[in-house]
Subunit: 172 residues, 3 copies
């Protein structure tokens, strides 16, 4: 039915905004978590997010197989909230930095087209600071930017978050 992209910095209120948006639809919600609890700090961050979510939301843990999941879930009359694309990309990069990212992104976007679900995607803007040294980091910034551009082009609505405030970048 529609695709909304919520983009912003770390701790900009993206997740909270996306969760509130998900609740405004009178539909069941499938929550897709891409984070993996690889250490205690990450486990605490995941728990912080989990505690805020309504209990009746269905949880899908999906560090890598997002395209496959969306192929099924986006066809249902429901809200699908993915939090977040940037962690998914990071997981993909650590899994196989040599893979074809153009292909990976076009598969993802194909599975978001003409869907029945209200899809809400959370993503980070990471390119507005000094780009740190390290080839993998630069690759991450490049691919994150490309992914965000492609998702924003596809989206019906794009929201930029600053300090918990939503700036609409696109609306149709």
């Amino acid at each position: 039915m529609s695709l909304t992209l919520v983009i912003g910095g770390a701790r900009s209120g993206k997740s909270k905004y996306a969760e509130e948006l998900a609740s405004t639809h009178n539909l069941p919600v499938s929550y897709v978590a891409t984070a993996t609890a690889f250490d205690d700090e990450m486990a605490a961050r995941i728990e912080h997010h989990r505690a805020r979510r309504p209990e009746q939301w269905l949880l899908h843990e999906c560090p890598l197989e997002l395209s496959e999941l969306l192929k099924t879930e986006a066809k249902k009359q429901q809200v699908v909230l993915v939090d977040c694309l940037t962690l998914w990309l990071n997981n993909q990069l650590h899994n196989n930095a040599q893979q074809n990212f153009s292909l990976l992104f076009s598969e993802l976007i194909n599975n978001l087209q003409g869907t029945a679900a209200e899809v809400i995607l959370v993503t980070n803007e990471v390119g507005l600071g000094i780009i740190p040294l390290g080839e993998v980091t630069r690759q991450f910034v490049d691919e994150a930017g490309r992914l965000n551009q492609q998702l924003a082009q596809q989206a019906n609505q794009v929201i930029f978050m600053v300090a918990g405030l939503a700036m609409p970048l696109k609306s149709r």
Copy 2:
């Protein structure tokens, strides 16, 4: 009377904008500086800011005790300009990284409510780049984001600065 939050990146013109805003009110100005001259580079930055300010502005140097200062100063019929919240947070983090930041922020915000002064707060957005390694840096980004969200929620006006240009994010 009202609370204005001026948020932006490094060298985005935040201070200059806030100082010009302070001058538009026909009121005495209390300038609250949170920076401390711990090295020559910082001393030069402080001097650069000082040289630009009108001489009749009252200077309060306040690296840590901001809540206490605002408790008194925000009750007066004046402009209170705090530059900047991010350095204050950094000072707090270096002073005691284990303290209760939620409590610290709620004390600050309590002292900003129902005040007589025109309060102008300058703060940095630091979450739109790659988050560097280091637990303290991540904690800083987290707490800075939380503080900015809480201040933005409380503020009557929020201004986002890019290249010296002001984008209003909130106005009421």
Copy 3:
């Protein structure tokens, strides 16, 4: 005739936007590249940009002598597209970090005033993340911010790019 500043993060779609804007004018286009292929990665990035540009555009490679080039080129009835100012500043900083940057910027801006050309400048916002350690990096962030502010003040139009979407910051 007019000066447009396109500012945004890494991989935000700045160059693509600027190139499309250049094509909308019914004028010959002089493309000014400030990048230098100092390694294979940079060579690949330059080639990626080059492949996208129309063949009839005139290419000027200009890592340092931008003011001199604009003095001549900006007087012609054409589009002058400079991509990007941030790399030029980086080249200047590596060439001579002790030079007078205020003077350097005012020379550049003088050569942009009252020109016959449609000038389009691409630049990066780099101050919205954590500022990394290192004095040269901090100097880069400071000078980049100062340059962006001065260009934005001079510009007739300023566009902020996020995820390939253009937010107008200034228009006159």
